[in-house]
Amino acid sequence: MTTETSTRSANGEVTYTPQDGRLLEVEDLHVEFHTPDGIARAINGVSFDLHEGESLAILGESGSGKSVTAQAIMGILDMPPAVIPHGYIRYCGHDLLTMPEEQRRKTRGPEVSMIFQDALSSLNPVFPVGWQIAEMFRIHRGMNKSDALEQAVRLMERVQIPAARDRVKAYPHQFSGGMRQRIMIAMAIALDPAVLIADEPTTALDVTVQAQIMSLLQELQQERQMGLILITHDLGVVADVADRIVVMYAGRLVEKADVHDLYRNPAHPYTRGLLESIPRLDQKGQTLAAIGGLPPNLMRIPPGCAFNPRCRMAQDVCRTELPPLREVAPGRLSACHFAEEVIDA
């Protein structure tokens, strides 16, 4: 086990200090959903870490387990039906999964916070937005109502909501999609978290608004040196923002690499296929290649490599043996039996 790097101050509050700049370590995480139809294995052994000021992208399609990973880190999975049979999620050396709920609750917001995809359904429709932002200060910092509201105005200004002071008492439905997402961001950064998880933050937004939100997120991350986990399926957004990328497929990491390496020279057939199957704005006359078949049913993940039924390189070994995630070049991990051939291709 890692040594705990924290101190307990006089009033019993825990302060967290990252070790060697490492904020978060996820190790061999498994998540299953026990449903009446059987067990859906959403995450099957995922490990990665996140450093201070780093942008890590988790890339995957629907059902790959990327959002479940985020929810497990935040501790907002519905348990049951979700079960975490194995794994550690350590924040500054503290295992979040074994931490008493009361202590864990205190990490949500001040230490780790999250932005959701759908801002309209994530905000409470019957309270003004300012009240909802101010709630963070009232509950975690024990501020009085007027001070908390003042902080909310300051935050709304910081996320560039025009006429913040006049709009602090407006309700979520009175804002546009982009403005609502800014309010979500304001809530998420309110208590200066060390880790910010953004789960598809711009998927529901138009492209011009997406550009505004992504640049705001990057600016805030640099200003506060937050560790950012960006969860997305959009290879364009990732290329603009991420330092490192992990690619998920059927609840496993299939590739982990620096952003430049991954785009220049993918080391897994799935990543390669994905990159060839996206139409590009800057190309004319492109022949679009596609990956055949469908992502697997999580209740019946194929034996061996989960990608084998869709993989054009698959051999017999792929149908029987699960390829481990291994280092195939300096700093590059791939879970493919033939990663060397893929990377040289």
């Binding site: 492209v207 011009t208 704005l281 679009l288 990956i291 055949g292």
Partner: protein, 408 residues
């Protein structure tokens, strides 16, 4: 240039805003406000724009699922807007639609065979009753689904497969025009390419013309021959794919293109980004003059008073239609011509037949894809919109039966 199959002449659709006990009309949402274009035989016209720009309403007007407030839709020389119910039905055979959401646009209580075969109930002369099942199976095969799955229900298919069912229904009557309203935006990245390639293949085989409505500028560039950019109910710019993407002259097109992230990290920070301030104004109260002037960095006094006309404006190599007083070419996307270059087929394939998931045997994907119960409610309504009410069908109606089997 091939003949024009469909043209829109100054199409307008205003929705009344009603208020008060007496439901008095207090204003109008100007969803589509004067849109004109021609669609040629066998071509793809892409329509792009942000949410609320009126592109979906335009698609519904072309299908005559909505009555235009003004203007007309002309199909093969015949004005469709004044057509009788009987003529409309006949014309609908030639213009079909594929909806965005494959989860809500298929009736969950009907089998795939019934969904794809329903157009034949309304147009019984297309395929004789005895041959319908066989025809539906041919259609399933054509869109890359297993013909043996004819008795399955929509929930037994994944999103991509459902969109194939929607396409099969759309092409069942051998239409000449297929209006596709965001056909791939609900699909996963790896499945999107399969459906796009299928649509391209069907176009080649059946000589279909597409009106391809989407918000994804990369997909539209890939599939379209010509592209129209909409902003607040009007066309800002329209031209050949290359003219609009490589030589845009309207500031809105330029801003839109510059905001699209490109999957290449080496371009990070090097791409020119035009960041627009603010949000799209309300279509109930659009700005005077040029509708884009409130967000435009080039706006002068004239922009807020005079509406710029959509006319030919020089683009450096020729000219194309653009609605800006100060139209000027600005290259925001460095285009590389990769035509003729084949992708590495060791990992993915451009061949549609090889990619049909008919025999994949994986069954519907679990986990991420689930049918929300909230969505199910609107299903029946949407399904009706696709296939006009059967009771209105007139079986005695005569029609020319020159429709050929697309599978040959």
């Amino acid at each position: 240039m091939p003949e024009v199959v469909l043209s829109a002449h100054d199409l307008v659709k205003h929705y009344p805003i009603k208020k008060g006990v007496l439901r008095r009309t207090v204003g109008h949402v100007k969803a589509v406000d004067g849109v004109s274009f021609d669609l040629h035989k066998g071509e793809t016209l892409g329509i792009v724009g942000e949410s609320g720009c009126g592109k979906s309403t335009l698609g519904r007007l072309l299908m005559r699922l909505e009555e235009p407030t003004a203007g007309s839709v002309v199909f093969e020389g015949q004005d469709w807007s004044g057509a009788s119910a009987r003529d409309t039905r006949r014309l609908r055979r030639d213009i079909q639609i594929v909806f965005q959401d494959p989860y809500t646009s298929l009736n969950p209580r009907m089998t795939v065979g019934d969904i794809i075969g329903e157009p034949f109930e309304i147009h019984p002369d297309v395929v004789p009753r005895a041959g319908r099942r066989k025809r539906v199976q041919e259609l399933l095969d054509l869109v890359g689904l297993n013909p043996e799955h004819i008795n399955r229900y929509p929930h037994q298919f994944s999103g991509g497969q459902r969109q194939r069912i929607g396409i099969a229904r759309g092409i069942a009557l051998n239409p000449k025009v297929l209006v596709c309203d965001e056909p791939v935006s609900a699909l996963d990245v790896s499945v999107q390419a399969q459906v796009v390639n299928l649509m391209e293949q069907l176009q080649d085989e059946l000589g279909l013309a597409y009106v391809f409505i989407a918000h994804d500028l990369s997909v539209v560039r890939h599939i379209s021959d010509r592209v129209g950019v909409m902003y607040l109910g009007k066309l800002a710019e329209i031209g050949e794919e290359d003219e609009v993407y490589a030589r845009p002259t309207h500031p809105y097109t330029q801003a839109l293109l510059s905001a699209v992230p490109v999957p290449d990290p080496t371009l990070r920070g090097k791409r020119e980004q035009i960041v627009l301030v603010g949000d799209v104004p309300s279509p109930a109260n659009p700005p005077s003059g040029c509708r884009f002037h409130t967000r435009c960095w080039k706006a002068q006094d004239v922009c807020s008073t005079d509406e710029p006309e959509l006319v030919q404006r020089p683009d450096g190599r020729g000219s194309h239609l653009s609605a800006c007083h100060f139209a000027e070419v600005r290259r925001v996307v460095e285009t590389t011509d990769v035509s003729g270059e084949n992708p590495d087929d060791r990992f993915a394939s451009p061949d549609v037949s090889e990619l049909s998931d008919a025999g994949a045997g994986l069954g519907p994907a679990g986990g991420g894809e689930s049918l929300g119960s909230a969505q199910a409610g609107s299903t029946a309504r949407r399904a009706e919109a696709t296939n006009p009410a059967p009771e209105g069908a007139d079986p005695a109606r005569l029609a020319t039966d020159d429709h050929q089997d697309p599978t040959r």
